[in-house]
């Protein structure tokens, strides 16, 4: 009896393993920021007990970083006949199916670390903000090919809002 969400008979396409590095770097930046922010009470009050706060934050963030590779492996997508299937998340799992005709636009963005590694993120935008399908960590050529393919598919299945 499985408790986790899973869709049987779906061959997921995974994102590049190099994306782990991007995620680790951005999480590290976040960790530094959070640790500094949570140290403020200790620095201001000079009460040693307050140092527990940044310590707890640090432990949690180290755990988060330790799970980054598995979290990246949990990201997957598949182009079905009529819709795009997308999944992500380990602790908080999320599956989304978007019909191609619902596409409003496709965004390709590249952060500084992604650029060095030759990766880009693809964002499939519908009229609903909550759809939020973002496929990170695609090789630049793959992302552009996927974008062209999705645009072509959306064109053949054009729909209103």
């Amino acid at each position: 009896m499985t408790r986790r969400l899973d869709l049987p008979a779906v061959e997921w396409r995974r994102v590049s393993p190099k994306y782990v590095l991007v995620d680790v770097v951005s999480t590290l930046v976040l960790t530094i920021g959070l640790v500094i922010a949570s140290s403020i009470p200790a620095l201001v009050s000079r009460v040693t007990l307050w140092w527990i706060l940044p310590a707890v934050v640090l432990v949690i963030m180290i755990l988060v970083i330790a799970f980054v590779p598995r979290r990246v492996r949990s990201i997957g997508y598949q182009l079905r006949d009529d819709d795009l299937l997308f999944r992500r998340g380990l602790l908080f799992q999320r599956f989304v199916a978007v019909p191609y005709g619902r596409m409003q636009l496709i965004d390709i963005t590249r952060g500084p670390v992604s650029r060095v590694l030759g990766l880009s993120d693809l964002h499939f935008v519908t009229a609903a903000a909550s759809s939020s399908v973002q496929i990170p960590g695609l090789l630049v050529a793959d992302a552009e090919e996927l974008r062209d393919r999705l645009v072509a598919l959306a064109e053949t299945r054009r729909a209103g809002l």
């Binding site: 819709d83 999320r94 989304v96 199916a97 005709g101 609903a128 399908v133 809002l161």
Partner: protein, 523 residues
Amino acid sequence: MRDDPPEGDPIEDLLPPGAVLATRLADGEWHRLHPATPLLRGGIVVIALAGYFISQARQQLIDLFFGAPHAHDDGDPFLFLTRDGRLPLALLGIAAILIVIVVIFYLSWRVHTFRITDEVVEVRSGLIRRSLRKGRLDRIQGINIVRPFFARLFGAARLEIDVAGHDANVRLDYLSSSNADGLRRDILRLASGTKHAEQASTAPDSRGFVEQRVAEFIAPELDPSFAPPESVVRVHVGRLVGSIFLHDTTFTLLLLIALAAAASAALGTLEIVIYFLVPFALALGSFLFRRFTKSIRYSIASTPDGVRVGFGLLTLSNETLPPGRIHSVQVRQPILWRAPGWWEIKVNRASKSNAKGADAQRNTTILPVGNLDDVLRVLALLLPNTSPESTETLRRGIVGTGPEGGFTNSPRRAVVVRPFAFRRNGFAEIPGVVLLRAGGIWRHLTMVPEARAQSIGVSQGPIYRALRLARVHVHTVNGPIRAELGGLDRDVALRFFGTVSLEVVSAVSTDATHRWRAGGSAA
């Protein structure tokens, strides 16, 4: 089907001979607005200036008539002007300023033009900074005729054409009342995809100018001959007032006011009153006033071009929502409405439904208050192809619990996350619409037409995983409604995800509501 013409072509050539549009304004040529437009648009400013002037001059006017002695400060600018024969010069200056304003108003009116082709509606305006606004007719989400109080005195109305997107409406302000109504009919006809414009009966109005103006002013809706004026719901003033006072917002604000008053009495200071009581009282006042004026004289009726909703006391508003423009519907019951059995209906729309403040209610509340029968009648207008069986399912969805009516419910173990609602929590389907029923205390039923759903989701967090539960989402455009249902069995949720995502795909591909009458007339 013939090719669409390039935009800008006069439509006259394209219509079959004998076809007549209700007004001459939708012929693809540029037209000007109502001549009183600058006055009405600048109305507030003019009135404010006049008010300022009168308040400044009041003392002088009193002195003039009653011959009281001059006993004022030298700093008074009005007094300064009236002394030593500076008055003629001042009047000359004022006249010059007025002339300049009138010329500017006239020029801005001259360049403010609009045109309606069978593809787009365009408005261009601006004397120095030119602007051009374009809306595609097949993306129209609703057409609203608003008649503010001052505009009504001039027999003018504002036509707002809502196009999908945030703040993407095209406004034609102002038009004469009869033109506004006729133009709405024409735009809807062009947008509907009807190629044969029906013969419009435009009998000239034989009444005199004043009688006509009076009749327009009194008429609750423009041109009652067009739509069946029979509203399917009648909201009595008593029920409206009662519903407003029993509303959760009123209740919360009254509670806050009572708390603030009690606190200030206990502490014996006035500061709390000033910092808390006054803002709460103002919020309550504006909420009550807004809710009342936006709900009074409410009517909802079905027309060939969609649902028509009208309301208003001083400012009249009357909106037509073409078919397929409603992205989700929610029937809900504030807790104090349970005893009288009242419900309200909200909708998500692709245009403006995320507007804040005074406009928010107008755009999202379709039925301010009604009993169960009213609600079912309104739902029959809002949802596609409802039948007696589906009405029964809807009734179960609004008031029912348990599996009757085809509802799939939460398992018993969901009592941990839904202690009061686990028996009610569930989903069902009627043809083309997904129903999500939830809320044990704040009861609500969310309905999403499958042809409007943007995507389908299923999600699970750690607590849900431990309980083998999951949450399903039907993503719709932004608005007050979030269509999601938690506390479902994991397998049931995955099955829902599989079947509904397939149904959405097929509903999307067969949907043709963006040209809602094209199918019938093309045959």
